[in-house]
Assembly symmetry: C2
Homo-oligomer: 165 residues x 2
């Protein structure tokens, strides 16, 4: 078995797009910042989100059964900080950005690159984390603009066009 | 349900680190390029890899029960092309780069940012794809160097240091 500290140092080099995952429903509104998001299949359109089971927001997602993956643009780096700061209440987090809804009622951020509106279709528990397998029921996409990624423990911006940066 | 073409356009904006996933064992040696890799938990160190069940390499991974995630550096963009080109045989793919092994015997690329050597602990089938949940048993990490990501249908390089690029 690999030591945890070595694993974390290795995983710091796995670049990840920065997302804010939101939900709303019977349990109430919640949102958190996540890089552990990936596409699973497009038959049917399905993505997955990993979440720490001990986090405050976890039961909101389980009880509501819906979520929205808001893929942040380079200009939304501040929101990443707001939605990962435990000192900031859910109410204050959502007060910091303009939101709408699509089909599930989960908050959709105005300036995200893409928002994937989802129903949670299946839940797997792996160690300390929960994997939500989500069917994408609606989507909102902006014009291409620079993306935001986290790599080697800091933020980086990606140009909307190709090529080395 | 969201239309597949719209979903693909949305997912093109989810930046992903570029990896080559390799295996070796009773079934033989295989490898393919993947961005659908993410960490699940560090208790115990566990990652996941999504793979199309209909791909040629799929049974190699199922039968061998082990794999290595080679996280590519910016200088290894050519390898991404080689390991995603169906016209190139497995033998020719591996002839294009220097490899060693760690604990499981899966090929470890010489110049990867990090190589995560894994045992496949659990398999889930979701639509057209298989999710391999993998326990990381050993790891090899180079000095920090620029990373390689795929975003908006093209490659981008990330500086090893922080800040907007």
């Amino acid at each position: 078995m690999l030591e945890v500290a070595r694993y974390r140092n290795g995983m710091a080099m796995l670049a990840g797009a920065v997302n804010v995952i939101t939900t709303d429903g019977p349990r109430g509104k919640a949102g958190f910042t996540a890089t552990a998001v990936c596409t699973v299949t497009d038959q049917p359109p399905t993505l997955l989100v990993c979440m720490n089971r001990s986090s405050y927001a976890h039961p909101f997602f389980v009880d509501n059964g819906v979520l929205c993956v808001n893929l942040l643009s380079a200009g939304q780096q501040d929101l990443s900080g707001v939605f990962s700061n435990r000192e900031i209440s859910m109410e204050a987090r959502f007060a910091s950005t303009e939101c709408s809804v699509l089909e599930t009622g989960s908050p959709v951020f105005a300036d995200a690159l893409v928002s994937f509106d989802c129903r949670i279709a299946q839940i797997e528990e792996i160690g300390s984390h929960t994997i939500f397998f989500c069917e994408v029921v609606e989507m909102q996409q902006s014009e291409p603009k620079p993306g935001l990624v986290y790599f080697n423990r800091s933020y980086h911006h990606l140009g909307a066009a190709g090529g080395a940066a």
